[in-house]
Amino acid sequence: MFLKKKPMWGKKTKLKSSYDVVIIGGGLHSLATAYFLAKEHGITDIAIIEKNYIGFGGAGRNTAIVRANQRTQYNVPLYKEALDLWPVLTKDLDYNLMFNNCGNLNLMHSEAAMKAARMTIATAQFHGVESHLIDAKEAKELVPALNISEDITFPIHGAMFHPPGGVVRHDAVVWGLARGAAQKGVEIHQQTEALGIGTKNGKVTSVTTSQGVINTKQVLISAGGYSAALIYDMLGIKLPISVLTIQAMVTQPLKPVLDHVVSSGAYHCYANQTLKGEIATGAHMDPWPNYTTLNTAHYIKHQAEALSEFLPCLRGVRFMRIWGGLADMTPDMAPIMEGNNHVEGFFMDCGWGYFGFKSCSAVGKYMAEYMATDNCPDMLKPFALSRYQEHKLMGETAALVNYSPDN
């Protein structure tokens, strides 16, 4: 696939010896940042360095869900903008991203969860994001397949209904952004591994790759789950990150049965029906750091049990495909974005956990502004690494599901 065929996004180019900007990682945050650097800031001399192929990591492994019902006042506006950007990007990229704002339904299984949902909803409404609290009966009206009886492990008390959320075709976003960036002059180099970052007098000077050394003054590491290991290996910077494997799967295709994204914190499970009819479902994470991206029998059983309790019509349905991807978890479930701090010209965008997909459009826009102007946009200021030292961890852990080896 890397030999003679012409990539769909444009012509293959030879790696040059210098670029204005080098971006390590060929995922959505990298592609979006490159796209906005070229589109909004006229910086087109960019190389994206990808060890495998674009969309190999989280970009191609997520379950395509987008939403803006996070917990804190720092996160909600960022995700809201990301959500608002999908129709805009579809038009600007001239690429059908298949944005389907079918709405998200977060199930609540206790009065304490209902109270937490009330606070999350109040935050969303304050920031102009549509979100409502509904009771179990209303949830059943929206999703008739739901089991609202009281004789299941976690009976449904109600739900947080977030109508503007939904699903975006993740591969289309990868291809659309890659083509959009390449059309503006960005070079994408697959099968090129970044091996090190050269610095001199506290400034970035070069990036060493498996295809040779590139001279550059600016480098961004936004390599998803691999970011933390790369940043420590290349620059010795330790991050408050634990890399866990998150697992997902799809069932055999079914007739239309589920027209919302349904998720449950208590069952550790979310599900939506794809346009092909498969039920795409996931959410379990084994809470020990690893880079395997392998599945576990433990999890398949868990997922089948959870689904057949709150969506009992799925009993007997077969799983067709299973896979895993990496999630770089931070203790406060919020990302780390900053630049020019440890080394001048070095930027990082990581710690997204399993929120990297839903945030990529807005983050690309703001990271591009950050790199082009060397000024941190207000939107990104709360996400600096220094918050851990200042003990200003974000309250995102109060959101509904929380996975980390730290708790």
């Binding site: 290991a229 330790k238 991050l239 494997t245 599945n295 576990t296 433990h298 851990y388």
Partner: protein, 95 residues
């Protein structure tokens, strides 16, 4: 992604009986003259090594022991070889 952990008391057991307890980071820093930087480094910061690391585990569904092991994070296999990538002081000189 099968995981087995060898508990010093109970022997080799299913990984789900255990709770991961973090990367080995050396002794807890002294309270005297402790800076926010040093404390943050001890509490939060990880090396996230893709390779062999020394790490702590708790046998929560067993004898309740806390103990360190060496494990390869790219294969999930315990290592006999007591040489971890995160114990060499590697990169500590940089930046």
């Amino acid at each position: 992604m099968a995981l087995t952990i060898t508990c010093p008391i109970c022997g080799k057991r299913n990984g789900y009986e255990f709770k991961f307890g973090g990367e080995e980071k050396g002794p807890r820093p002294e309270e005297k003259d402790l800076t926010p930087e040093a404390w943050c480094d001890y509490v939060h910061m990880n090396k996230c090594v893709a390779g062999v690391q020394q790490e702590w585990w708790f046998h929560k569904d067993g004898c309740g022991s806390w103990f360190p092991i060496y494990r390869d994070t790219t294969t999930n296999l315990e290592q006999e070889d007591q040489k971890a990538t995160n114990q060499e002081g590697k990169n500590d000189e940089q930046v």
